[in-house]
């Protein structure tokens, strides 16, 4: 069975030697290239910003290839250590962290500022997967409880910074591990009920004013067209006025004339929608779908449970980023400040994501060696 479904990457000796999964690489490169084209327009044709982004891409790709060289076993061995380190750093941030934009997210290491929550994006699913995979599947209720606890502690620490968006995404990446591990549907329904009951508690006790405002604005952006509703209104105008074919590259009036806020970061999808229209949106979604599909295929073909769970969780988390970002700029979801993965301008999150894809490539290409053991 394994022989019948030989991976192209395995056939390609040269790439296999570098532990590169060719379909995933092609998907990612297509996305990055398309992303650069959009970014050039979204930065107002800023060569300096393009240069910075290309350098980041280079670093991120290098990180991906570097991570891919470690076997899943190695990664599994390091999972708990990484998780513990991340936890310590989160506590350090709360104690000595650098305050920027009203939130305490950064840790100043002297030579660079660092956001420990980025580590946890990788460490939480890895640690939960390590724990769950060390027992038989489906996990018992007792194991699930431990798993939830492993998600909850970093989530609450990050929520305290406060960074609700990131904390929820990290919680979700851990929960995906539990879901893929076969958590029973009955329990899932129970948790869903619990979460809906928890929502008012969150609204009144956990959320900050600006977060509540975002939700209120999301529910009815036109009530405050010049204030917090401005972003979403201008974004929808940009998307809607793109029509089927779009206004053409560099021709988007909403983005080029800067009516669109955060056009090169969180709202870059609106630039794409305006300049390339529905056609461009479909192309982008197709690329994302291909990468996600490939990620799930890699997960389902992985030969040990840790690899499966980590690969699936990373893939689904990647999808959640895509969905949340597109949902927020098109008015389906409140504005939570999630960049469009691998397209938005910005460094840290891109490196983290590519590290995750490095893990996927490792899972994809280290199979034979595992089988040979």
């Amino acid at each position: 069975m394994n022989n019948a479904m030989v991976d192209p990457a395995q056939r390609s000796g040269r790439l296999a030697a570098f532990h590169i999964d060719l379909p995933l690489l092609l998907g990612l490169l297509t996305l990055l290239a398309f992303g650069l084209v959009i970014l050039y327009s979204a930065t107002g044709q800023s060569e300096a910003m393009m240069k910075a982004q290309v350098i980041r891409l280079g670093i991120a790709l290098a990180v991906m290839v570097g991570v891919a060289q470690f076997s899943p076993q190695t990664i599994r061995r390091w999972a708990l250590a990484l998780f513990s380190l991340g936890l310590l750093m989160l506590i350090a941030v709360l104690l000595f962290g650098y305050v920027g934009k009203g939130a305490q997210r950064w840790l100043d290491l002297g030579f660079m500022k660092f956001q420990p929550s980025e580590i946890m994006k990788l460490a939480v699913p890895m640690a939960v997967a390590w724990f769950i995979a060390s027992h038989n599947l489906p996990p018992r209720i007792w194991h699930l409880f431990i798993g939830f606890l492993m998600c909850a502690i970093p989530t609450l620490l990050i929520a305290r910074q406060p960074d609700l968006g990131t904390s929820l995404l990290i919680a979700m990446s851990g929960v995906f591990v539990l879901f893929m591990a076969g958590m029973s549907w009955r329990l899932i329904s129970f948790i869903a009920v619990l979460v809906s009951a928890f929502t008012p508690v969150m609204w009144f006790f956990l959320m900050r004013d600006y977060q509540r405002q975002r939700v209120l604005t999301f529910l009815n952006p036109e009530t405050d067209p010049l204030g917090s509703g401005y972003h979403i209104i201008q974004s929808k105008i940009a998307i809607g006025s793109g029509g089927f074919e779009g206004k053409g590259w560099l021709q988007g009036t909403q983005s080029q004339l800067e009516f669109l806020p955060e056009r090169h970061t969180d709202f870059i999808f609106s630039v794409l929608s305006e300049e390339f229209g529905l056609v461009g949106v479909i192309v982008l979604l197709a690329i994302y779908l291909f990468i996600i599909g490939r990620g799930l295929i890699i997960a389902s073909r992985a030969q040990d449970n840790f690899s499966k769970l980590v690969a699936a969780s990373f893939t689904l988390t990647f999808f959640v980023y895509v969905f949340v970002n597109i949902g927020m700029v098109s008015g389906l979801l409140p504005v939570v400040g999630v960049p469009l993965p691998l397209v938005s301008y910005g460094g840290t999150s891109m490196v983290t994501l590519m590290a995750a894809f490095g893990v996927l490539m490792s899972v994809s290409t280290h199979k034979r060696m595992l089988a040979n053991v």
Binding site: I239, F259, L278
Partner: protein
Amino acid sequence: MLKKRVAMQDIAAETRLFNSRALVAMLIVCTLFSIILVNMYNLQIRSYQDYQIRSEGNRIKVLPLAPNRGLISDRNGILLAENRPVFSLELVPEQIDNINTTLSKLAQLIEISEEQQQDFLQQVKQQRRFNSIALKERLDEQEVAIISVNLHRFPGVTVEARLSRHYPFGDLFTHALGYIGKINTDDLRRLDEQDRLANYAASREIGKLGLERYYEEQLHGTMGYQEVEVNNRGRVIRVLRSVPARSGKNIRLSLDVGLQLTAQQTLNQSRGAIVAMDPRDGAVLAFYSNPSYDPNLFVHGISSSNYNALLHSPDRPLINRVTQGIYPPASTIKPHLALLGLETNTVQPDTRIWDPGFFTLPNSDHRFRDWKRSGHGWVDVYSAVAESCDIYFYDLGIKLGIDRISDYMRQFGFGERTGIDIHEEASANMPSRGWKRARFNQPWYPGDTVPLSIGQSFWTATPVQLALSTAVIVNKGMMPTPHMAAEFSSADSTELVNPGLKPALNVVDEENWRIIADTMVRTVATLKGTAHTAFRNSSYSSGGKTGTAQIVAIAQDAKYDADALDERQRDNAMYIGYAPAENPTVVFAVVVENTGGGGSVGAPIGRQLLDYYFSAGVNSDE
């Protein structure tokens, strides 16, 4: 072995479980992507039109362009209202490194007050950084020169020119031209009611008075606009479309600068009014009210001290005496009454009346006196007009009765606005039985008719009405509409103003009109004529009528003594006239307040006017 078998079973079940979960995950992914696609379809296809419009609304702004106001010139093309560039010192904050340094350096070059600097800094805070902000407005020529020479030292500093209304003749044409001023809320409301507000989006000023107000629509022109693309901060990125403004029409008036100057000089320091027009078409040749004031004060907003000085001046310069000055017409209306007497056969040309110096009504011993205490002796219609005999007209007035007088004089235009092309016009008063009943709730007494017959008591008229009634006499019943605008011209068309003549009076016998014109010529030409002294040795023929209006009633047996009276209670001097005697080309009215008699003050002014009129050939080309 056993342990390994169990593990193997686990792996198969686990793989099945995982794959089913992966499938569920993939289904969820596809479902959510579908939701995104449906949302995109709604935004980009179904609501495309809506968002397209909103996107255009974001980026396209329409900037209005103000039209240049039409120019106004006199009959010979001499500019009376023009648009002059005024210069202002302006700064663009974003192009200046240090605004405070620049300000202090500029203040070393020209005088910039602390207040101007504070105002400017306030504006800098309020305005967008790429907008040009005025530091000092209305620079004089020297300041413009100093700044221009040093401009290279100040990046971001410019001298901007914009057009501003200017009246080069100052106070000479104020009551005719009026002036423009800043648009206020009343103007905005009126424009809105007339549906013309949109055309004023870029305009700062509007006609406030006189011709500037009356012909606002023609003078203003049509606004142009630029469709520009702007960014989110309102900075203009590029011009998409430009529709230039169409300038207002230029107006050539029938007024004559020379005649106007003569009018001003002859009135000298006296309060009064002079109006002259061509009886053939109503074209106004002179229109002057004294004292006048400088309309340029109003263009940039008059200071309250200046305004109060004008408003509270005892000479009341703001009153337009030509059209709003309400005066008893006095003896100037004697030709009109004589005409009514002839047309109604109440008197014949040769009917003679004995003037003993006073007149009494039957059953009354109240003596209505003649201005000549000794009386004129026997008078007929010719001598009655020429020598301005009061007794003849007391008698005629009583014979005619108030109803006929009132009806007939109304047809001459008394008691009605003449329709001259400014809005500041009074109708004055032509009394009647009905009027007196309504005004005083009293019947009309014969004693009211007596002073009325010499243009006193309730009868009032404006100078322009007097001139117009003179035109009706020389036109034998045909009435023109007085108008100062003669021609509107724009780049592609010229339009002459000619309202034409309308029959005002029913003519019974044309000979009567010739006789009346003759009585007025005799006023000037015969030795006993009241205007004879004034017109002695004139090189042209003319007709006229003097008038001396009493401002205060003189007691029964008292004598009018100008020196004993307060200046403001002295008589008004009146004079109406026309020239030449045959086929007249000009009629005019002169009123001089509180100076004395029509013959001694009014007629000499008429003489000077006509002297200039004929020597300069004011409208001889027509």
